[in-house]
């Protein structure tokens, strides 16, 4: 049945295109250049607009939403300052390959280049931190450009896409048709891996005596947790996850040796150092993971699976590269392995596991449980217990982020939501809000530090307005703890500007935003407080935990060191002696 095409204005096309794309939530903030669009939003009810309190909050909230659901996050901001405020969030999503589509208003086409009011070159400013960006120059291109933006953002290696829309385009009108499909001759992501390479990988894996599986955020982006778990179980090899990959393999499984890298476990890092065959799956050999490249995996032959060819052999030479979508490649690799006559070397594997279990026995994450001063690790551990390991947990950046990663073992994908690549303080609270909007019935916690938390604290208003009852656990050490830790280790304890003076009363702050505030000062009160907060199902609660100021994150690999050269906490060193 041929439908007669409607004539719509650009602003209406914008709304209809989002609706046809299946978008439910739009995070935004109005301004002159997008007022036609806001008027069109007013007249429809297919899309819920979430009014944030700062454009950075919009991008982080959309990002959290995308990380939790796998669907693209969508943002609308005005030109000039609206766009520049969004940049931090765009860069955050870019570094972690998160699909976002960010619409920026722009001054009218004929004004571009004239230093018009609230004009900024949004395309130029965002170019280095987007997967791609588009300037719409004709209303007739608007619908097709929106379709392309979603396609590029969500396919291949995902990432943020910016669409810059001049104001006159939103006033112009044309026939509306939303394309069913996109075809771009210059953009064709690879999906299937090369069968010859997969066969080589299978042979190499089966020849291993000391294998390691190292997987990253790519597994989550590719929705390949089931395949990763099947693959790991089939071989019985030890598996470690990057900070971005936590939850892709059940962390409470005995094959899991913890996170690797700068603050990874002793067993994961030692396993990396001593392994003879390493398979990297959707992981990009980030410097926080590898430590000194000269000392990285000195004995290993390396297999790498990645959808982005430029991620392969970028930092570390690779013996068997496989370009392809992780889910497809793992599926093929599993069936290839099943068809091989050879099986993993059971004796060698037994010895390898004995070695790993010896490393594990060191209990590198041990901390002092005897004091009544609140240990930050203990707070995270209690949260894990009381939420039965099943909450969505966002975090900010710093020590608390590492403790969250170490002490909240995630058994399911997309539950751990943090800014790994850019390390953006201020991410946690708006991201939690975005997750809660996507999953109103789930428990969503934000583990933060008192310095990070205030960077986007204004979003507490948004939480109230849209009723997103999240639980914020602020590990308040009155320091920018991670900065303080580096200053203690590398600058002879000269704590230059890392002390948080003149902190607000967080309880009153929460209350003034219409939420519940709690201050917890003793270890023995931690459990009760978290229970109480979780019981307040329909309230956002800010828990201000007054924690040990001197606690450090261990293990730690300092700059220029290898995986086998970790600092361990004094509690653990004592055991070694």
């Amino acid at each position: 049945m041929a439908k007669k095409k409607e004539i719509l204005r650009g602003a209406e096309i914008f709304c209809r295109a989002l609706e046809d794309e299946g978008i439910k939530h739009l995070f935004g903030y109005p301004g002159g250049a997008v007022l036609h669009i806001y008027d069109a939003l007013y007249k429809q009810d297919a899309i819920e607009h979430i009014l944030v309190r700062h454009e950075q909050g919009a991008t982080h909230a959309a990002d959290g939403y995308a990380r939790a659901t796998g669907k693209p996050g969508v943002v609308l901001v005005t030109s000039g300052p609206g766009a520049t405020n969004a940049v931090t969030g765009i860069a955050t999503a870019f570094m972690d390959s998160i699909p976002l589509v960010v619409f920026t208003g722009q001054v009218a086409t004929h004004m571009i280049g004239n230093d018009a009011f609230q004009e900024v070159d949004s395309i130029g400013i965002t170019r280095p931190c987007v997967k791609h960006n588009f300037l719409v120059k004709d209303v007739k291109d608007l619908a097709a450009t929106i379709k392309k933006a979603f396609y590029v953002a969500t396919s291949g290696r995902p990432g943020p896409v910016v669409v810059d829309i001049p104001k006159d385009i939103t006033a112009d009108s044309c026939e509306y048709e939303y394309p069913q499909e996109v075809e771009m001759r210059s953009y064709r992501p690879v999906v299937k891996g090369h069968p010859g390479q997969i066969k080589k990988a299978a042979k190499l894996l089966l020849s291993a005596k000391k294998p390691m599986i190292y997987s990253g955020g790519g597994v989550l982006l590719s929705e390949a947790s089931t395949e990763l778990t099947e693959f790991s179980r089939l071989l019985g090899y030890p598996i470690t996850n990057t900070l971005m990959g936590l939850g892709a393999f059940p962390a409470t499984d005995k094959q899991f040796v913890g996170m690797l890298g700068m603050h990874g476990t002793y067993e994961a890092n030692m396993g990396m150092h001593h392994c003879d065959v390493l398979i990297a799956i959707g992981a990009r050999f980030d410097d926080r993971v590898t430590g000194d490249l000269e000392k990285f995996c000195p004995y290993a032959k390396i297999i790498q699976i990645d959808v982005d060819p430029s991620s392969i052999a970028k930092n570390v030479p690779v013996d068997v590269p496989i370009v392809g979508d992780v889910k497809h490649v793992l599926t093929d690799l599993i069936s290839t392995l099943k068809n091989e006559k050879d099986k993993p070397d059971a004796n060698a594997l037994k010895e390898w596991w004995n070695q790993i279990n010896e490393w594990k026995a060191l209990d590198c994450l041990k901390f002092d449980r005897t004091t009544d001063v609140i240990k930050p690790q203990y707070v995270v551990e209690k949260l894990w217990e009381l939420t039965k390991g099943d909450a969505f947990v966002t975090s900010d950046v710093g020590q608390h982020q590492m403790w969250a990663a170490q002490f909240y073992p995630f058994d399911k994908p997309r539950r751990w939501i943090n800014s790994g690549g850019l390390g953006t303080m201020g991410f946690g609270l708006p991201a939690a809000m975005g997750v809660k909007l996507a999953y109103p019935d789930e428990t969503v916690a934000c583990i933060s530090g008192e310095a990070s938390l205030v960077m986007c604290i204004q979003e507490l208003s948004t939480c109230l307005q849209y009723n997103t009852p999240i639980k914020i656990l602020s590990l308040n050490n009155r320091y920018m703890g991670m900065v303080r830790q580096w200053q203690e280790f590398f600058y002879s304890s000269r704590y230059s500007h890392s002390y948080m003076e003149a902190l607000p009363d967080f309880v009153k702050m929460a209350e003034s935003y219409g939420h519940v505030g709690m201050r917890i000062e003793k270890s023995s009160d931690v459990e009760g407080a978290i229970k109480e907060a979780l019981a307040l199902k329909d309230r956002t609660v800010l828990m201000d935990f007054v924690t040990d100021q001197t606690e450090n994150v261990y293990p730690m690999i300092a700059a220029g060191k290898g995986h086998h050269e970790m600092h361990l906490s004094s509690d653990v060193d004592r055991e070694l002696a």
Binding site: K131, V152, S186, Y187, P309, A313
Partner: protein, 163 residues
């Protein structure tokens, strides 16, 4: 090592800045860069001369391919190829110098394309080395202005690099 990369890209506003931005953001070398539309007006051809270790040049190729506007990237070093550069050069050529200048242009197979009482303007194509050699052969004080196009390259034989 020096590499000549030949790219086909969408003839879109901003495509050039995506490529040049990539080189500066990732601290890759760029010796020269030329770009113009092809027989298909929606596609531009870009030739980039760069240098770096094999590993770096491989990364450059991959990063260029990743740009959404880039259709194809070929390292001409992997092919038998021809490279040419165009130079326009303006020389002072007064009475007594004119014959000498003319002889040099002939030796290097250039052409005099504009003449005034005091100057010759010369057009010359060739490899970069040849153009360098011509400049070296001239007396420095004669040179008024040098304009070079940067390198263009094409593969030899039947094989064509197409989209």
């Amino acid at each position: 090592m020096r590499h000549i990369l030949s790219l086909l890209l969408e003839n879109e506003a901003g495509a050039l800045s995506r490529v040049s931005g990539l080189f500066s953001a990732r601290a890759y070398n760029i010796e020269s860069l030329t770009v113009a539309p092809t027989e298909d007006p929606t596609i531009s051809r870009m030739t980039v001369v760069t240098s770096g270790s094999d590993q770096i040049v491989e990364q450059i190729g991959k990063q260029l391919n990743k740009l959404v506007d880039v259709i194809k990237v070929v390292d001409l070093n992997e092919y038998r190829h021809i490279e040419r550069e165009l130079m326009l050069i303006k020389l002072t050529a007064q009475k007594e110098d004119r014959d000498e200048a003319k002889r040099m242009v002939e030796i290097f197979r250039g052409r005099i394309i504009d003449v005034t009482e005091n100057t010759y303007t010369i057009e010359m194509t060739g490899t970069g080395e040849k153009l360098d050699a011509f400049i070296e052969a001239l007396d420095d004080s004669m040179i008024l202005e040098v304009v070079r196009s940067g390198v263009s390259g094409i593969s030899r034989g039947d094989k064509a690099i197409q989209s």
